[in-house]
């Protein structure tokens, strides 16, 4: 009985306390506004003195609630660490987060936008502006600027975090800045690429920007370029997911109107489009190489690449241009319709393709004596066989064929006649981990002993372009040069069709 009574009393008391707590006025947010830390490693101290104990080390961009002023110190509350303290007034900038302060914040934000190393501060300022500005302004051009700035900061921070920076201090600063950005809800994705982590901005601000009708062409271009960075595609993505991502990227890039862009930005957009359409062409070709969509995508890629103005290509974009050219070059045979197989005449061999195991294409070498049932050579591949690229030398002892096993990586198959029969050799673009590259047949040297090959590849961080005279026997390189004019044999026997079509001589 006593226990029941005690329980009842406790319940009544707790209810009364709850009611009283609800009735009590909530502590109003500080009327003194907030403060944004502008210096790295600013000290939050226990007392307004230089010698006082340090409570926390603050980084630029962090926001604090101001609760008072003491000497030249501000008494603040750090909501993130749930800690109060004093900070020197010169280490912070006070912001009121009112509508009137919006333009000032926007101006500072614009100023910081192009300052490297101030990304965390910029994100803090942008967050303050987004908090201060009215919804109407956010829907207008100012909002577009704010989202553009936010995305730019985050993207640049991600790029900074991805490159190897020597020194312990810079690493600590970078990780602190990433934490500050994370605190504002800016998310980053990390992927392992070639043994190191690649940090990528997840892109919400840019997606919002692309959805805003008031965004201008430059902002859209920046957003689209940041959203479609090739190194930010998850390398572990399955093939069908990757195809979806490619489609999405093409769609995002379509939203940019390149007509009113400055030359260098237009070039970047067009190079990116060329790469993406090249990838789309390959992904479609892997399902069905004869699909008209493949040729359409490849044509689009080539159009975009040819739209790039080399005069307005800065040095830092040269690598991207080479990459785009290689990717487009890898699928360029999609533009040439595969000729219907003609009956082989004499001893000249021709190539036929037929499906093998699921996803496999088999290449058959036939001539007048050997039909498809008993071919001279049969070799199957899981790559895309560009049948239109087949070329036989004058003597009929060698056939060159382009086969693309991976996106942006096209090999050259050389089928040659030996004493023991026909053999198939594969000439990859480079002797490195397959990444991006093209090996192209460029012509036959009369005599049936040599052929001309143009190779271009990026592997393990190095870019290499070479024009080679290759011996058919063993595919060893006899002569190699980086400049096609320096090799007379190459100059003399290069194939006119190759010279007309190739992108190696760009």
């Amino acid at each position: 009985m006593n226990a029941t009574l005690a329980t009842l009393l406790a319940a009544v008391a707790s209810a009364a306390v709850t009611v009283a707590a609800e009735a009590a006025p909530q502590p109003s947010p500080s009327a003194q506004g907030s403060a944004i830390v502008v210096q790295d490693q600013a000290s939050l101290r226990a007392a307004p003195r230089d010698g006082a104990q340090q409570q926390a080390s603050l980084w630029q961009g962090e926001v604090l609630e101001v609760r008072g002023e003491r000497l030249d110190y501000l008494q603040v509350w750090d909501h993130k660490r749930e800690r109060g303290g004093f900070i020197r007034a010169s280490d912070v900038r006070r912001v009121a987060l009112t509508e009137a302060e919006g333009p000032a914040l926007l101006a500072v934000m614009r100023f910081v936008q192009d300052t490297p190393g101030a990304e965390a501060l910029g994100i803090g300022l942008t967050a303050a502006y987004l908090q201060a500005a009215p919804a109407k302004a956010l829907a207008g051009e100012e909002g577009a600027q704010a989202f553009d700035a936010l995305g730019t900061f985050a993207d640049r921070l991600a790029r900074r975090a991805s490159v190897a920076v020597p020194g312990k201090a810079s690493g600590a600063t970078l990780s602190a800045h990433l934490d500050v950005a994370n605190g504002y809800g800016v998310r980053f994705a990390t992927y392992e690429v070639e043994g190191r982590m690649q940090v990528c901005y997840e892109g919400e601000a840019f997606r919002r920007l692309l959805a805003m009708p008031v965004a201008d062409a430059e902002q859209r271009a920046r957003a689209a370029l940041a959203l479609t960075r090739p190194e930010c595609i998850n390398p572990d993505l399955p093939a069908h997911e990757r195809a979806k991502v490619t489609t999405w990227q093409a769609d995002v890039l379509e939203r940019v109107d390149v007509a009113n862009l400055p030359g260098y930005l237009r070039n970047r957009v067009q190079m990116r489009r060329a790469s993406v359409w090249g990838a789309a062409a390959f992904q479609q070709a892997r399902k069905n190489a004869a699909d008209p969509a493949v040729a359409a995508a490849a044509a689009r890629a080539l159009t975009e690449l040819s739209g790039v103005s080399k005069a307005e290509l800065p040095d830092e974009d040269q690598a991207a241009y080479n990459d785009a050219a290689m990717r487009v070059s890898a699928v360029r045979w999609a533009l040439v319709p595969a000729a219907a197989p003609v009956a082989a005449t004499g001893n000249r061999p021709t190539l036929l393709t037929e499906p093998g195991a699921p996803g496999e294409t088999c290449v058959l070498l036939v001539d007048a004596q050997h039909s498809a049932k008993a071919p001279l050579l049969r070799r199957c591949t899981y790559g895309v066989v560009w049948a239109a690229s087949a070329s036989t030398n004058r003597e009929g002892t060698a056939v060159a064929l382009a086969v693309q096993p991976m996106e942006g990586w096209r090999e050259l198959w050389v089928l040659r006649k030996t004493q023991g029969g026909w053999l198939a050799d594969v000439l990859p673009p480079a002797a490195a981990t397959p990444e991006t590259g093209v090996a192209e047949w460029a012509g036959w040297v009369p005599g049936g002993q040599q052929m001309l090959v143009a190779r271009e590849a990026r592997g393990q961080g190095r870019y290499r372009k070479s024009f080679e005279v290759v011996r058919l026997e063993g595919l060893t390189t006899e002569r190699v040069t980086g400049d096609v004019a320096a090799l007379p044999l190459f100059q003399r026997w290069q194939d006119p069709a190759w010279k007309r079509e190739t992108l190696s001589l760009r």
Binding site: P238, A239, H240, E241, R286, P358, G359, E360, T381, Y382, G383, P405, M406, W409, E411, V426, L427, P428, A430, A431, A432, T433, P434, G474, L475, T476, T477
Partner: protein, 448 residues
């Protein structure tokens, strides 16, 4: 008709008129029978002459005769020798003398008064709806097996069967409905309904009951010459309380029925969902399978590309090895050549040095010989002329030495005698001078 009337009335008005024809009585009767009121229009218009109202003797006679005729006509009319049968009537004529019965259908049948009697029955369909059993609270409600009163809206349609023996025999009662149908229906209906519960009557076995009644009633009525056309059981009137209970029960039943259907529906929906899910699952599985296959193909392609790189790399390595080997061989050859060249050079050098040394030795030999010869000549000369030494010394020293401090000779010789050795040791001095000259010549030769 009006003319006839006038003809009758005119004599009453006192006018002379021709005796009425025999046939003229009929219209009077007709008029009388039909009860058509006399037209008062023209009569009322004329002033009444009361003298006309008094009958004359002649008129009375005529009236008597007319009355007789009318009476006769009335008799014939009342008992016509011909019986008219309307459509759908059946006449049963009984010869009272012979007892023969004949049946007559539509038309007329001779009925001789006193000889024949005719009974007319209707062959048309008739219906019987017992009012007494319509209401549960009525005078004669039905009773169920539980003893509950209930009303029934029963409708029986029947007709006489002219071909049945009962009809042919003329044994039918006058009122077929009341005497045959009603007792038969009531006798059957009460009995049948008493076998069922109200619930069965009300809901579940209504058709069965109707079937039973119809079958039995048909047989029963057929025996009496009546054909049962149809039997219809309409509304069943239950007692109010029972009705409410029944309603709620039925509602419950309906609800349960509804629940059953709902459950069935839900069951079907569950099955549908299951099928949908299965279809979705299969679709997903197929898609996943396709995606996995695509992934496998992509991976195989990548592997293939990797595989192609390796032999190429191998070839490159081999080529580099070969190049390195060639380089090594070339270097060894070059080193060997260089060593040999050096050796040859060294040999040459040694030979040259030997030759040089030999040449030097020869030269030294020759010079020594020449010197010795010269010394011999000079020795001979000094021996011959000893003061030549002093002269030479003085010549040589003359430009360098200004003062020579020398102890004075004790023996009073020439001051330079100590230097020269004096005459005491002329032989030794001569030899010494020869040696000095030899040294000087040697030095000269070396300097040369």
């Amino acid at each position: 008709m009006k003319a006839t009337w006038n003809r009758i009335v005119q004599p009453l008005k006192g006018r002379r008129s021709t005796p009425l024809p025999e046939a003229g009585t009929e219209p009077v009767l007709d008029a009388d029978l039909q009860g058509i009121p006399p037209t008062t229009g023209p009569v009322s218009a004329a002033p009444l002459n009361w003298a006309y109202l008094l009958p004359t003797a002649r008129t009375v006679r005529w009236l008597a005769a007319g009355a007789v005729v009318a009476a006769a006509g009335l008799m014939v009319y009342r008992n016509p020798p011909v019986q008219h049968l309307a459509q759908g009537d059946l006449g049963v004529r009984l010869n009272q003398f012979t007892g023969a019965v004949s049946l007559w259908r539509d038309g007329s049948v001779w009925v001789v008064p006193g000889l024949h009697t005719v009974r007319v029955f209707s062959l048309r369909d008739q219906s019987y709806r017992p009012e007494a059993m319509r209401q549960a609270t009525g005078s004669a409600p039905l009773q169920s097996v539980e003893g509950l009163s209930l009303g029934l809206d029963l409708s029986v349609r029947y007709a006489l069967d002219p071909n049945s023996p009962a009809v042919k025999a003329g044994n039918l009662p006058d009122n077929v409905g009341a005497d045959i149908v009603e007792p038969a229906v009531q006798g059957l209906v009460y009995k049948v309904f008493a076998r069922y519960t109200v619930r069965e009557i009300f809901s579940s076995k209504r058709a069965e009951i109707a079937q039973i009644i119809e079958t039995e009633l048909r047989a029963r009525l057929a025996a009496d010459g009546v054909t049962l056309r149809s039997l219809q059981i309409g509304k069943v009137d239950l007692p109010a309380e029972y009705r409410r209970g029944m309603d709620s029960l039925l509602a419950e039943e309906l609800a349960s029925e509804k629940m059953r259907y709902t459950l069935e529906l839900k069951d079907k929906r569950v099955k549908e969902t299951e099928l949908d899910a299965n279809a979705d699952k299969v679709r997903r599985e197929v898609a996943a399978e396709a995606a996995a296959r695509e992934q496998v193909i992509a991976a195989k392609a990548q592997e293939e590309a990797m595989k192609h790189v390796l032999p190429f790399k191998q070839r490159q390595i081999e080529q580099r090895q070969l190049e390195a080997e060639a380089e090594r061989v070339a270097r060894v050859k070059a080193a060997e050549g260089a060593a040999q060249a050096r050796r040859i050079e060294a040999n040459g050098e040694a030979d040259a040095r030997q030759k040089l040394a030999e040449a030097e030795a020869y030269r030294m030999d020759r010079v020594g010989k020449v010197n010795a010869e010269q010394m011999a000549r000079e020795g001979a000369l000094v021996t011959k002329h000893p003061l030549l030494i002093q002269k030479t010394l003085a010549d040589k020293l003359s430009d360098k030495i200004q003062v020579i401090i020398a102890p004075p000779p004790t023996n009073g010789d020439f001051i330079g005698a100590a230097l020269l050795g004096g005459n005491r040791n002329a032989q030794a001095s001569a030899a010494q001078a020869a040696a000095v000259a030899d040294d000087a010549s040697t030095t000269q030769a070396v300097e040369q």
